[in-house]
Each structure stands twice: as C-alpha cells, then as structure tokens.
Symmetry: C2
Amino acid sequence: MASLSCALYLPTKCSSIRENGSINNIPQANSALSIQRPPVLDLAYAVAFNPATSLTAEQIRQSIPTEKQLTDPFRHGLIVEGGVRYRQTVVIRSYEVGPDKTATLETILNLLQETALNHVWLSGLLGDGFGATHGMMRNNLIWVVTRMHVLLDEYPIWGEVVEIDTWVGASGKNGMRRDWLLRSRFSGQVFCRATRHEHTWVMMNQQTRRLSKMPEEVRDEISPWFTETRAVQEKALEKIDKLDDNAKYVNSNLKPKWNDLDMNHHVNNVKYVRWMLETIPDEFMEDHQLSSIVLQYRRECDSSDTVQSICEPDEDSLPRDTNIRILTGFSLAPEILDGGGLLGTFDKWPTRYTHLLQIKGEKKDEEIVRGKTTWRRKKKKSLNSSH
Amino acid sequence: MASLSCALYLPTKCSSIRENGSINNIPQANSALSIQRPPVLDLAYAVAFNPATSLTAEQIRQSIPTEKQLTDPFRHGLIVEGGVRYRQTVVIRSYEVGPDKTATLETILNLLQETALNHVWLSGLLGDGFGATHGMMRNNLIWVVTRMHVLLDEYPIWGEVVEIDTWVGASGKNGMRRDWLLRSRFSGQVFCRATRHEHTWVMMNQQTRRLSKMPEEVRDEISPWFTETRAVQEKALEKIDKLDDNAKYVNSNLKPKWNDLDMNHHVNNVKYVRWMLETIPDEFMEDHQLSSIVLQYRRECDSSDTVQSICEPDEDSLPRDTNIRILTGFSLAPEILDGGGLLGTFDKWPTRYTHLLQIKGEKKDEEIVRGKTTWRRKKKKSLNSSH
C-alpha cells in the first residue's frame, strides 16, 4: 500500500489548498439570489499579459496567455519532456461514452483536437480558434489539416482517468506534424496513438486559399517546439481508392445544421467522421470497435453544402468463414462461428471499409475527405450494466 | 495586484506538486514504443474501498468510491456548503462551443448531467450510470426524470473557467429535486440556473415500470444530502399545450442511431433537445439564443422508435413590429427595425416556441416529451473571429 499513500497525498493536498483558499469560502446561502459571490480576480495566466495592453471583456474571460506557461491548473495541463510536450489529465465523462460504457470515437477525436489547441494555448502563441500563431495571423495564414491517422488499441471507460500527451515536429519544409499518445493514468496502458502526418498542417493563404511557404517569423515561433519522437510508426502514405455512388452503402442529402458548425464556421471535423460511420449499418456497430482510421482531406465543407457519405467494405477483409469452409471442408452455421468462444474471432462482417464524403454539386461532385477504417469485434465481456 | 498574486500562487503550487512528483517523471523517449510507463497505482479513492472486497478490472479503472469523499482532484470537484453541495470547476472546451464561440445548449445540459452524476459519485452512493444508489439497486429501483427547467442568463465562452454547483432536496414524499448553479469563476456572474422540479426524480420499478414508494433504506441514504436552497424561484407548474401534425414546423422520421444511445441504452436526453431545436429554422438559430427551456417528460424512447419533432411559435410572442405599427401609425421596413441600434430589440421572429417529441406508432402516437423554449436576440457584438 506504500505507493497508494503517496498517490493519495498528492491530489488531496492539491485540492485542500483550493478548498481552504478564500476563493472557495462562499457563505451559506438561503436562496438562489443570495448565492452571488463577490468578483474574484484569479486570472491564472495574468502574469503573462503585458499590463500596458488593454484587454477586451472576452480576452479577460478567456485569459489566453501571451507568454509560455508551464502549467494550466484548471485544465490539469502541464508542459513536460524538456519543455516541449503538453500533457493533460482528463476524466472520461458520463455523456462521452456509448452504450458499452467506453468512450466514443467522437470523444477521442474531440479530446485530440482539444489538447492540441491547449498545447498552443499554453505555449503563449495562440492567435485564434484554429490554433494559428500570432505570426501566422500577422501573415494572414491558417493551418489546414491534410491527413490524420488514429490507432485505437483500447477505449477508455466512463470515469477512467486518462493522460493525453501531444507534441509537434517538422513535416517537410512548410509543414508540421502533430502526435498524440493517450493512456491510462493508473496503469500506463496506451489506449490511442495518433498523428497528423507529413504535409498535414500545410499553410494556406486565408483569402486566396493558395499554399503558402512558412515565413521565417512563423518558423521561429514554432520550431523551438519541434521534436523527433513519433507516436505512430508509419509506412508509406496509404492509397485510398475513390468511391462512387455504386458503393454498397450510400447516405445522401446530408446537410450540416447550425449546431454542426465550429467556432470558425466550418463543419466540425468530428462531424465528418460521424457521417462516415453512420453509413455503416448499426448492426455492425453494435458488435464492432474501430481500431484504426485514416483520413485524407481534400477540401472544406460549408454550411450550405449538401453532402453524400459513401462506404464500401474492402473485399480482402470479407467474411473469414469462407476460409474456414476451405480449411474444414464443410460449412459451419454462422451462429456457431459467431457465438462460440472457440471460433470467437471469426466474423461474418468485413473488417475494413473505404469511405468517401463528397459535396453533391449541380455540375460536379467535390471530394471532402477519403477515409479508411479498420475494425475488430468487441470483447464479449461487457461492463456491468443493469439495463 | 494583491489579489492576483494570491490567485497565481494557488494553482502554480498545486500544479508544481504534480509536475515534480515521481508519477510525472517519465524518461525521455526516442520512439513511441519506449514511451510506455511503469504501472502506477494512484487510485484517488482507494481509501474508500473495503480491502476485503475483490474488485473487477472495470471497477479498478473507474475507482468509484464506496464512502463519502470531500474532493475529486482529477475532476476538480469538491464538497462544499456544510458537506452537502458538490462543486466542480470546468473549462469550456474548443469543441463545446458553436459558431459564436459560446457554449452550446447541449454542452450546458451535458455538464449538468455530468456534475449530477459526479455528485453521487463523490457521495459514495453511486450504484450505476443512472445515478441510482446502492439501496435503490438492491430494491431494483431507478430514477426517472419527469420535469426540468433551465434558465440561461448568459453563455460561457471558449476557454472560460466555470464553476458548477449542484445539490438535492426533497420533492414530495417519494421524489427528489436537483438544482444547479453555473457561474464564471472569475467574476462570480451567474450564467445558468437549473432545476429538476418537484416530482422530477420519481422512482419506478425497473421491470414493471410502475411508480414505487421510496423505501426507508433509500431515504436514509439520500436524505442527509437534502437542502432547502433553490436555484430557480418557480411559479406554478407551467401548462404546455399538446401539439399535433398541423403545427408550423414538423420533422418526421427521426431515428436514433447507435451513437445516440447512452450507457443505459436509452436515447440521450440531450439528443431529445437537439431534435427539438433542429426543428426551428437555422435562420432563426443564427441570431437567437435560448434563455429558458422547460421539459416535461412522458415516456422513454427506444433505439427502435421512429420519432417526430413538432414545433409551434407561440402566438402571443409573435412579431413585435405589429405593435410598432400600432404605436407609430405607419409601418417601418423590417430591415430598419432589424438593423438599427435604436430599435435593436425588435424582431420579426416569435420569441417563444412550444415543442413536442412523439413516437409515431402504427396505431397511435406516444408522447416522449413536451417542451417550451424562450429566446432572445444575440448581442450584435461578436467575439473576434477572423474567419
């Protein structure tokens, strides 16, 4: 129990400071109206602001630092590994898990996006909601993701404490690579590794949307953060075939709603993935878990676009009971293959799918993103659920 | 600056403990594969477990305490106000805000649900994902929400640090009331007040779905947590008219997807609200902000149900420029009324809407939830957005 007592001391001391601090001593209230507290100035990053600068009301509420910080107490974030890597501790929330009590893919992708931005936030470089630096904003430049690869060995469960590390590296002359590692805080087990690959963060001029070289000013801002460490050991760029309407599963007439837009008025990347996965039958989703997703982005999607989601099972991942038939010389009923522990890994469903999201135009269709997903059967042992 | 220095000291000290602690000292890794850490046992709530009890792998990962705890360091949660109220500090995440950079209603509702469960979690009473206590599980009982009222004076913005208080009280002989107060940590300004009213947490037998009296065992568990404080000063129960297909806005054929189910295999409450609000035209949503929502629940919705969302503007909240016409004796062009700062509060849209979600059955329709929403025009001054 020795290691436990140390660990218990840590958070308890941390929190009791907060609990006993004057900012939490709110007098007992008898009605809702008397619960109002006196204004408290506890801008955690205020030290980083130039006192000569006048801040807008929004800037005070957001308190984005303008100098590098080592910790973000409210987000449980800190800079580690020689001052370049960002680490954030999060607890998987009740509404972030699906029917099997594991975090949804959307939750994971959201947390990756969130920690990436928080990394830039803590670096003192954050200029806008895209994660653009001040130098980029001065040069009218934005980041555009071109490729992403997420590997999921296991999914965290409701209430689990998870540690997310993220860091960046150079990608060619004008790009940046961002990596993530998501693991259990208790056991250290790695749940998820992810990368935005090679030319992933290509810079484009905002008005003309042309590729742009990275100005020295921007390179000087971000290059001190670059490291060589890779979260994903990658092979050559995967080729993803372009699908058409003749694919097995097609969802048409998808329209972004106001709620689907992010703070930059674009359709949220995670919405793309939701559209992709909703094209696969629910029957498959109930028993399978995504183990890998590759996304190759072509263009953005506006709120006025009508989108089509196309999905095709990969032929070479088709039912493995075909092989069984060849091996045993006779066919087993699918239920036997499905239900039995003996052949529990065999499946009547393909395990790899190719995806395409495209904008249905009057004259021609335009690709938004191509994708490739790989799946595995869920473990039979489910969490204790009384319903 | 005196108050600042104190506040800065607080989180920095808190985090530096974490940073210097051995659990964060991970050796520099050269490749992803070497980033693995030795297993660390830092079960924050381990002290609350009976050492004689053998825990499942899931229970260890979740570490739900079986005795009352005063702090939850990983969630930034603590028990305040004489030991009955739960308070959690959260930062609004980048993907939790909409195009105007303010938290979406869905985010707010999710955070209310999350803090309610975390309150029960910290109380040591949590038995399942519904928030049922151990005594309830022994008696085969669940909570069923019957009514909810959320008031939103202002919306928190991206990156804002928010404090959420939640507490419970008695509601009649067999019910419970839960209240919430959500405010800015910096200014103390109240953003949101909410309550699940009167008979809200009625207990029903799980198999037969009949109302059940609250057993003494359960009353003894929860009554020490009851307080009289109210977050919302309520009038009599609001009557919400039942709508039919002749209403102005109707969305039919809504089907829950696998992703819409929560860990209890029910359609998430927040999905109900999304269906309701998506029935109002996007054109309205762009300029308006919800200030109040009342929900009266009738029955649950299964994954196999087909849902219809019906919405009707309230006549007595119809265009106020009609009144202007009466007052001034001539009609002003809507653009003048809309655009001018002088008459900026006038609007061509109604400000109150009645809602109904119902299951379309072969023989008859069944009500899921009735709702009433009240809206206000968004402030013209938007956050700095470069796109």
